[in-house]
Symmetry: C2
Subunit: 190 residues, 2 copies
DNA sequence: ACCTGAACACCGTTCAAGT
DNA sequence: ACCTGAACACCGTTCAAGT
């Protein structure tokens, strides 16, 4: 890639990130080009359409998730808190620009397209699950993709509905309780 | 309302329902007007913008939920199956046009706007919960709105990601297990 | 090879002119 | 009172002309 091309590419990506956070996923492409100081044609030379632009941005964000999972595991929390904290990290990471959560969750498990985009999320989630399984803290029957879908659904709802942090946390806690052997609320055992 | 106005109104609503199901929530307004056999101005006279059109359509669909709840309760299913069947009915009802689930779920609990749109859904869900509570089948701690949000999140994901019926059911089962006193999978009791 | 920006097709929305 | 449809502003996308 020639130096000027690289420069255009980087500027477009940086500006697009800002604009999508500000105005949502439907922001004007022409404005992105203008703000990046490039012609409209340059934008389309590097990113054939809006989808490509969003995909590249989202891939960046999802890559950061692996760092988040290590950090979460190292905190040494009890199972329920660990799970909820991890879910919150996921929601935060995939909600970086409005509409992003819905987009990523829609691609989840879709082997045909953009495998690597959600693969990172799935493996990160997997390692949290394994950690909890090793401690016998989790019931069987739910696989990683399903859990990612549920959490992604919460992220999409929180994103679209402008949910408060506490409300989002409550939803994630409900999911966590469905997965754990010993949920917070008392169980009536025979 | 004059007779010709009523006629325009009805035709627009009917055609819009079809077009939104076919092409999703972003379908062209001009095409809706053309297919309905009215001028563009007539469409905007009755529905100031796309939101109004979608709101009226969604309200219609949500109204049908009350019928669904009565039918579900009358089936006499055991708690887990009842809950899952009900959740499936909700997903089916709020997913009538692409993007509809996300839209409704975003408005959920938002007292400022469109209260009556989701109110019907919330009260219907409430009556299912009460039915299960009376049988001691449900753990405390989750209120109606939260559950509607979770189910709405699943609906949005299923809608956007083109999930199969069985995959959707699995997600709803996970939510149900989080709510029930005695989930399907074996619990290890002390 | 890469960039520019005018140009094209299309879309949401408006409004003067009609009945 | 209601409807029509040309018109306007805007947007995604393309492409001939430049360096």
């Amino acid at each position: 890639m020639r130096a000027d091309a690289q420069r255009s590419y980087d500027r477009i990506l940086a500006v697009a990130g800002d604009v999508f956070v500000e105005q949502g996923t439907n922001a004007s492409m022409n404005e992105i080009a203008k703000r990046a100081g490039v012609g409209a044609g340059t934008l389309y030379r590097h990113f054939p359409d809006r989808e490509h632009l969003l995909d590249v941005l989202l891939k960046d964000w999802v890559a950061q998730i692996q760092a988040a999972v290590d950090q979460t595991l190292a905190a040494g929390l009890p199972p329920r808190e660990l799970l909820i904290t991890w879910f919150e990290a996921v929601v935060r990471h995939i909600s970086v620009h409005r509409g992003g959560a819905a987009r990523l969750t829609a691609a989840l498990g879709n082997t045909a397209s953009m495998v690597d985009k959600w693969q990172g999320l799935a493996t990160a989630n997997q390692s949290v699950l394994r950690h909890l399984e090793a401690r016998g803290a989790i019931r069987g029957g739910a696989d990683t993709i399903q859990i990612c879908r549920l959490v992604g659904g919460v992220a999409a709802v929180a994103d679209a509905g402008g949910l408060l942090r506490d409300d989002t946390r409550d939803l994630l806690a409900l999911i966590a309780d469905g997965l754990l052997v010993a949920p917070a609320a008392a169980l009536r055992c025979p």
